[in-house]
Symmetry: C2
Subunit: 248 residues, 2 copies
């Protein structure tokens, strides 16, 4: 179910801060930001709500205020490759502007989410008028590309338990050391899909991680007994160190 709400009130809009903090809008002019925000409509989207389909002509893009949105691509066989699962502060579908106006992946809400929808047309217009926005788009896409390179590297060289360990490390603050307890952000089957593995592989990988890197798992709660020890286990099969550069 989707509830459309009235136009945002710019003067009191806390979401402006959220939009401004995105690399795409970081250097955009105040005028550009106001124009884009004025076109935004809040959207409360419930679990399983489909936002758009891969190859759809892009009409709207979304800012995630709270919740989780899954980006995925579906094969002819009906299998699903999860490209990303994003939360607060991420934009969904905005890169269609540089992808011939089409969405390059499908997007579904995986937990009740507060979104703001914006017409893609407004972003396109703004990009032609504000060079700083075009440059911001470049920064943002370049960042995604770096993240994907790291992803390809992980899929190529890390084993299942290292990939799971990497996922956990990336949930930690950059300054983390010693012991840490964290909560898995979404359910294990989605984490498995996000990491490009079957549920059984995920279970086996997690079991091995428990043994090899001293991780405790109780439901959705994970205790890392020593961040350094886990990073050593995970990052030896990666060209990055903890904390990951692309998260800095």
């Amino acid at each position: 179910m989707v509830l459309a709400m009235p136009t945002l009130d710019l003067a009191t809009d806390p979401n402006k801060v959220l939009l401004e903090s995105h690399s795409m809008f970081a250097k955009a002019s105040a005028e550009t930001l106001d124009k884009i925000l004025a076109a935004g409509r809040p959207l409360l989207a419930e679990k399983n709500k489909l936002l758009f389909l891969q190859d759809d002509p892009a009409e709207y893009f979304y800012l995630v205020v709270s919740g989780w949105v899954k980006l995925f691509r579906e094969t002819l066989d009906g299998d699903e490759a999860v490209i990303d699962v994003v939360n607060t502060g991420h934009l969904v579908g905005a890169s269609a502007v540089v992808d011939d106006g089409q969405h390059s992946a499908s997007a579904t809400v995986v937990a009740t989410s507060n979104l703001i929808s914006f017409p893609v047309r407004v972003l396109e217009d703004a990009m032609t008028q504000d060079p700083a926005l075009a440059l911001g788009m470049l920064t943002s896409i370049a960042k995604q590309r770096r993240k994907q390179s790291r992803e390809i590297e992980g899929l190529t060289l890390q084993n299942a338990s290292q990939r799971i360990g990497c996922f956990l490390l990336r949930l930690l603050p950059a300054t983390a050391e010693g012991s840490h307890t964290l909560h898995l952000p979404y359910d294990k089957s989605l984490i498995a899909a996000r990491l490009g593995m079957k549920s059984e592989t995920f279970s086996r990988g997690l079991a091995r991680l428990r043994k090899d890197a001293d991780i405790g798992v109780k439901g959705a709660s994970v205790t890392i007994s020593d961040v350094y020890f886990l990073a050593n286990y995970v990052c030896s099969a990666c060209s990055n160190d903890f904390p990951c550069e692309d998260l800095r």
Copy 2:
């Protein structure tokens, strides 16, 4: 061994056409192109020549006139993730401009190559002066991002023989149908690495592809008995059809 050669003669330069045909420079002004070409130096680089290392401050980027260049990332354990292997018409290292001036991967020549080296500084300057070049950079990075998304999808959902079949299909002209014979562009161990698999996995995958998709292999020569049959086998585990969108 690297042989530095004299400055290019713009008036008779066939490489100008090559540079212009790259999505990054497609819309750049004639002035920008001339400025960049004037700073180019031809380079004959032999096999195993290292062009730059990951995380190096970027001084030069390269246009591949002929030959093959491998982009890779190396882990602390010394394993190598091959990110891409590129040939004629590709730029290598230019995206450092949007990656904080650092190379995000290492680059090595894998077959004797004719390159042109350009100072990154010249590209940076040109980008601030020619908005069409900044937009071209955006188009180019967006294209790489789409290619990487497809790559992640393949690594996640395709089995080894489907990934090998996909690699073969992508070597064919978009109009290919019926029977086709092609030559593997570089050696099998590098193809295996490029596809993110061990050499043994590659051999097993190729054997299965022979049986399941009626492929003949003799040294570096591969005969596909029916392109449609192979595409059916490969693309059922992909969200794209043959010919691949990102190659069009």
